[in-house]
C-alpha cells in the first residue's frame, strides 16, 4: 500500500492527526516497542507556536456521544524549546516528520517556516490556520482572501511541501481550499475539530476551562467525509482526510472520497496502536476485489 505525497514516499496511507499523539511521551510510556511497531507512515507533531503556551485551564475534556470535545488550547514549548528538546527526539522516529506550526500574524508564520526551512529532520510543514490573525481578527483558514495573503507571503520561504490544515468552521471550505491551491499550498488536510461545547450538569456553566472546544471522533465522521469529498473535487493538490476514522472502512471511505492519505486522531486515545489495526483492515479491504460497504 505504498503511497506518495508531494514527492514523499510513504509505506502506507495512514498518518496521525496533529495533536493526537505525543511520540516523545509515548516512548517514555511504551519504550522501544513504540519505535519497533510505529503505527504511522509519517508523524505529524503537535502545533508549535513562536512563544511557549501553557494551554487552557482544566477541565479540558468532555466525552460526548461517540466523540470527544477538547479544549486543550495548544500547549507548546514554543519554537526554541521545540528545536532544542523535541526535534532531536522526533528525528529518531522511523518515519518522515511533518511539523505543524501556527502563528498569530503572517509574520509569525513566516518566522516559523524559516526556522524549519533548512532542517533536514523535517520532511514537510503543516500550517494550522484555525486561529485568528490578530491584525485583522479574521480566522486565516476560514477566509479565502486571508489565506491567500498569508500563503503568498510565506510560500517562497521554503522548498519543503506546505500542507494547509483547513478548518471545517468556514462558510465555504472548498473555496478556502482553492485559494490555498492557487497561492501555492502543496496539499490540504481536513477536517480540524468542529466547534462545540458542554455545560456543567448541575451549575449549567460551561464545563470546559476554555469555554467551548473542538468536537472530534466518530461523531464528526460524516461531516469529514462530506468536506473531504467536496474539497477533493475542488482542487488538484493532494488531500489528507481525517475525522472519526476508527476502522479500515472509514479510511477507505475517505480515500474513495478523494483523499491521498488518511489521518487517525481521537481513535489513538482509545488504543495507541489503533492506526496499525486500521492500516491492516484497509489493506485487507484493498485486497478484496469488491470491498463493499458493511
Amino acid at each position: 500500500m505504498t503511497v506518495e505525497l508531494c514527492g514523499i514516499a510513504l509505506e502506507h496511507p495512514v498518518i496521525n492527526a496533529s495533536g493526537t499523539f505525543d511520540a516523545i511521551a509515548a516512548r517514555r510510556v511504551f519504550g522501544a516497542e513504540l519505535i519497533e511497531r510505529f503505527p504511522f507512515a509519517a508523524f505529524v507533531s503537535k502545533t508549535v507556536t513562536l512563544a511557549p503556551r501553557q494551554g487552557n485551564p482544566p477541565p479540558r475534556l468532555w466525552e460526548t456521544g461517540s466523540g470527544l470535545i477538547n479544549s486543550i488550547g495548544l500547549p507548546t514549548k514554543g519554537l526554541e524549546g521545540y528545536l532544542g528538546e523535541d526535534l532531536p527526539e522526533l528525528a529518531e522516529l522511523p518515519v518522515p516528520l511533518i511539523v505543524n506550526v501556527m502563528g498569530f500574524t503572517p509574520a509569525e508564520v513566516g518566522e516559523l517556516i524559516r526556522a524549519f526551512a533548512d532542517r533536514p529532520e523535517v520532511t514537510a510543514l503543516e500550517l494550522n490556520v484555525s486561529c485568528p490573525n490578530v491584525e485583522t481578527g479574521l480566522v486565516m483558514g476560514a477566509d479565502p482572501r486571508e489565506l491567500s495573503a498569508l500563503l503568498e507571503r510565506v510560500r517562497p520561504l521554503t522548498d519543503k511541501p506546505l500542507i494547509v490544515k483547513l478548518s471545517p468552521n468556514a462558510t465555504d471550505v472548498p473555496a478556502v481550499a482553492r485559494a490555498a491551491e492557487r497561492a501555492g499550498a502543496s496539499a490540504v488536510s481536513l477536517i480540524n475539530t468542529l466547534r462545540g461545547m458542554a455545560l456543567h450538569p448541575r451549575s449549567g456553566a460551561p464545563w470546559l476551562g476554555g469555554g467551548g472546544g473542538g468536537v472530534s471522533g466518530p461523531a464528526v465522521r460524516s461531516v469529514a467525509l462530506a468536506q473531504v469529498y467536496a474539497v477533493a473535487e475542488a482542487v488538484e493538490i493532494p488531500v489528507i482526510g481525517m475525522g472519526g476514522v476508527q476502522r479500515g472502512q472509514d479510511a477507505l471511505d475517505l480515500l474513495r472520497a478523494g483523499a491521498t492519505l488518511v489521518a487517525v486522531g481521537t481513535e489513538n486515545f482509545r488504543d495507541p496502536a489503533a492506526a496499525s489495526r486500521i492500516t491492516a483492515e484497509l489493506s485487507a479491504l484493498h485486497g478484496n476485489s469488491a470491498p463493499e460497504l458493511t
Binding site: 482544566p58 468532555w62 456521544g65 477538547n70 486515545f269 488504543d271 496502536a273
Partner: protein, 301 residues
C-alpha cells in the same frame, strides 16, 4: 469521564526537589523504579471473576501479556464489546483505574469500581468470560517512604484501590485509615488489612471523616510518618492540608479526566506550583507539596 472513577497514583519524580524537609540523604529511587513500561497498544484480557464488596465491584482479569505493575500505577480499561465501537454512544473513551491488587506470583489484575456513570456501568456489567481491553501499566507508582519514616495509608471510597497493592508491596506500614460515606460502602474496607474505618454517617466505625483518625494516629509521631493517600478530592485536600500543617511528607494518588492515559491528549493536566502537568505522565501520584490544592477542576462532581 466526568464520572470517571479512580484514575490515580504514581509518584512524583523527586528530580524537582520541593520545599519538603526531606532529608538530604533520602534514598529516593530514580523515576524508572516506579514505572513499569507498558506493552504498546491495547490488549484484550479475560475477566475471570467479579465480586461485590459492599457498594463496589471488584473486577478480576488475567493479563497474560502484560508486566506486573508498580503500586500506584493505573490502566485504561474499556469493555471489548459495546464501548464506542463505531456505532455506539457513551461510553466511548477508556476509563482510568488504579490497580487494586496484582500478586507477583500470577498474571492476575484486580480493579475496584463503583457504578457512577456510563463507563463504570458498562464495566460493572462484565462477567467472567467477558473480554476487557487494557492499556497499561501507566503512570508513576508510589515511591517508598523517606528514610526513617513508616507508611501511613489513608483512603476514601473507591480510592482505597492503590493502597491495597501498596500495602501488599510494603514490608512495613502502620494501620491503614479508611473513610466511607456509609456502612454499605465500608464493606470494602476488608480489601485492605486491619484498617480503621470512619463513616460520614456514623453507621460503621468512627463517626466522622478519615482525617480525624489521621490526626489521632499521627499525634506525637510527626517525624516518623509518610502519608500515602487516595480518595475523593475533598478528602485528599483535607489530607494535604493536615500534612502541610504538620510538615509530614505525603504522596497523593490523584484523579483527573483522561482520554488516553499515555500523554497524547493533554487533557488530564492538573495545576501544580510549577504549572500544569499531565497527570498520566507525571502522576498519578504527586508529592502533596507540589500542589496548592488537591481540589482539581473537573473532578469529584
Amino acid at each position: 469521564m466526568s464520572a470517571g472513577p479512580a484514575a490515580s497514583a504514581g509518584p512524583a519524580p523527586r528530580a524537582a526537589p520541593t520545599a519538603h524537609a526531606a532529608p538530604a540523604a533520602s534514598a529516593a529511587p530514580a523515576a524508572s523504579a516506579v514505572r513499569t513500561p507498558a506493552p504498546f497498544g491495547r490488549r484484550a484480557v479475560a475477566v475471570t471473576a467479579r465480586e461485590r464488596h459492599g457498594a463496589y465491584t471488584l473486577l478480576r482479569c488475567e493479563d497474560a501479556g502484560g508486566p506486573r505493575p508498580r503500586a500506584g500505577q493505573f490502566y485504561m480499561l474499556s469493555a471489548a464489546e459495546r464501548w464506542g465501537g463505531g456505532d455506539g454512544e457513551r461510553p466511548f473513551l477508556p476509563r482510568a483505574f488504579s490497580v487494586l491488587r496484582a500478586p507477583a506470583e500470577d498474571r492476575r489484575l484486580d480493579f475496584l469500581l463503583e457504578d457512577v456513570g456510563p463507563g463504570t456501568r458498562r464495566l460493572d456489567e462484565l462477567r467472567p468470560g467477558d473480554r476487557l481491553h487494557v492499556v497499561g501499566p501507566l503512570g508513576n507508582g508510589f515511591e517508598p517512604p523517606r528514610e526513617r519514616r513508616r507508611a501511613l495509608l489513608v483512603g476514601g471510597g473507591v480510592g482505597i484501590a492503590p493502597l491495597a497493592i501498596w500495602q501488599d508491596q510494603l514490608e512495613d506500614s502502620t494501620r491503614p485509615l479508611l473513610g466511607f460515606r456509609d456502612r454499605a460502602r465500608a464493606a470494602a474496607a476488608g480489601l485492605v488489612s486491619s484498617a480503621r474505618v470512619a463513616t460520614d454517617d456514623g453507621s460503621f466505625g468512627h463517626h466522622g471523616v478519615v482525617t480525624d483518625l489521621m490526626r489521632q494516629e499521627i499525634a506525637g509521631r510527626e517525624s516518623e510518618i509518610e502519608v500515602y493517600a487516595c480518595g475523593p478530592p475533598a478528602m485528599l485536600e483535607a489530607v494535604r492540608a493536615v500534612c502541610a500543617e504538620l510538615a509530614i511528607p505525603a504522596q497523593l494518588a490523584l484523579e483527573a479526566g483522561m482520554a488516553c492515559g499515555f500523554g497524547a491528549c493533554f487533557g488530564c493536566v492538573v495545576p501544580t506550583r510549577a504549572g500544569l502537568v499531565r497527570l498520566c505522565l507525571d502522576g498519578p501520584v504527586l508529592d502533596a507539596d507540589r500542589l496548592e490544592s488537591a481540589l482539581l477542576p473537573g473532578t469529584g462532581h
